[in-house]
Amino acid sequence: MSETSPLKALAAGPARRQGPRPTPPGPIVPAGSIAGRSLTIVVAIMSFLACLTLGAVTLVRDASLDWQSDIVREITIQVRPIDGVDTDAEAQKATNLAASTPGVASARPLSSWENAQLLEPWLGSGLDMSDLPIPRLIVVELANPDAVDLTQLSTRLTQEVKGASLDDHRSWTDRLKAMANATVIIGFSILALVFVATVLSVVFATRGAMSSNRDIVSVLHYVGAEAGFIAREFQRHFLILGLKGGLWGAAGATLMFLVLSFLFGRSIATPEGDQVSALFGRFAIGPTGYVGALGIAILIALMTAITSRLTVFRHLASIE
């Protein structure tokens, strides 16, 4: 061996000479492995399902809030006909009384034609309503349901208008609220289950993908890499894999909601479309849904990264 041995050169410290133009070093954790691709697909599917569930729950919750606010915003005054009393005049009095109440947007008695329309399913068409003792109905729209003192309005109506009674739909609203709340609770329970399933499948898929990288962890360990260095390398790699999968899933779910929203928007004039929009509004998941989808993608990516980090430490503990 000559005196110009590279070992001597190494002992002299870092080289001053430069070799050929360096190519950027390859990543320590291989970028595209089969296990990595499988993990990305699992993450994408679970993220898609979680985002879809979140979107559906958001939709149901928004729709139930809309139903409640629509119904709470409308109350009805009923003026029953009493012998010797001018029902129309009493109805007008009740209308004026309601209209002058703070928080009421408008009060309007239903015309006899509208009354006939309401009764047509039971009594058939072509009846002369004036012969029947039909109560007059006054539809009262509330500008601000919280500002209206319904108890006081009810008392005043009973005292000042003969045959008047107030129906604030409370029993309906309470039932609807209970139903809507139950639907939302069921939705959130499903969302929680999907989240747990997502967490578990992402954790197991990450550990599976990591098992093919154990040799790399061992080699890095034996060449003197600090545990933190090895963990960082894997964490970065798996964060990118997780983000890629998570964003693909979230984008798929978002696209699906956009397409559904567009399709239902087009069919809104049809009876089927009206039915769906009556239940789910415009089928739009709103900003909460989109931000939530992005949040899920990021959360899943973080989970993937943290799992890989923990797996590195566990593997290092097992070989030390």
Binding site: L7, L10, A15, E226, E320
Partner: protein, 219 residues
């Protein structure tokens, strides 16, 4: 440099695989570690590069008692020990250059600061024309030399090689031995685990012979 005193090792509740080992490895020394298959050579090497801790006895490496060594100190200590594994343990997705440079890269060094050294070392082990080759296309001997280069690039104070000539033909084995001898001449302690009597006969050196878990030293 390395001192073993009455060291014993057992796996779990099993019998001791290494018993009462007492020996020293001095700076700049050269020794063969030999014995029949299953005698515990690889286990002893694992104790030497801090991958295992003894169940009894004292191991002192670079004047540090292994039993009281905190885990956080292990990587720095390990960097003073070069290891050549029997199965090479090269990373298949990295080029020969990147594999050899790995010990420097994990220290956070920039490639420009070590590129010339790595290239020169690769030339020295006869891999000057295989710098960009991936391990799967290297021959057994080339992989062996790449593994040796990786163990040397960090200028370790001691080199441990597990059956370094197990996968190569006799002329190459001779060449690798010359490489280890040259390395030792330049100041690195060398421990070569082998059961190749022919290889040991080519160079007169201290022999540590393991038999049924016990060690005999022939100076």
């Amino acid at each position: 440099m390395i001192r073993f005193e009455n060291v014993g090792l057992r796996y779990g509740m099993g019998a001791e695989v290494l018993r009462d080992l007492s020996f020293q490895i001095a700076p700049r020394s050269f020794q063969f570690l030999t014995g029949p298959s299953g005698a515990g050579k690889s286990t002893l090497l694992r104790l030497l590069f801090l991958s295992l801790r003894p169940t009894r006895g004292l191991i002192s490496i670079f004047d540090r008692d292994v039993a009281t060594l905190p885990k956080s100190d292990l990587p720095a200590l390990r960097r003073r020990i070069g290891v050549v594994f029997q199965d090479f343990r090269l990373l298949d997705h990295l080029t020969t250059f990147e594999n050899v440079a790995l010990p420097l890269r994990v220290l956070g060094r920039e490639e420009a600061t070590y590129r010339a050294d790595v290239i020169e070392l690769l030339k020295w082990v006869g891999l000057g024309d295989r710098v960009q080759a991936l391990p799967p296309i290297l021959s057994g001997g080339e992989k062996q030399r790449a593994a040796i280069a990786r163990a040397l690039i960090g200028q370790p104070e001691i080199l441990l090689a597990d059956e370094p000539t197990g996968n190569v033909d006799p002329p190459l084995a001779k060449r690798l031995l010359r490489l280890f001898v040259e390395l030792n001449r330049l100041g690195t302690s060398v421990v070569i685990a082998t059961h190749d009597i022919g290889l040991m006969n080519q160079f007169d050196a201290r022999r540590l012979v393991l038999h049924e878990g016990r060690l005999s030293v022939y100076e």
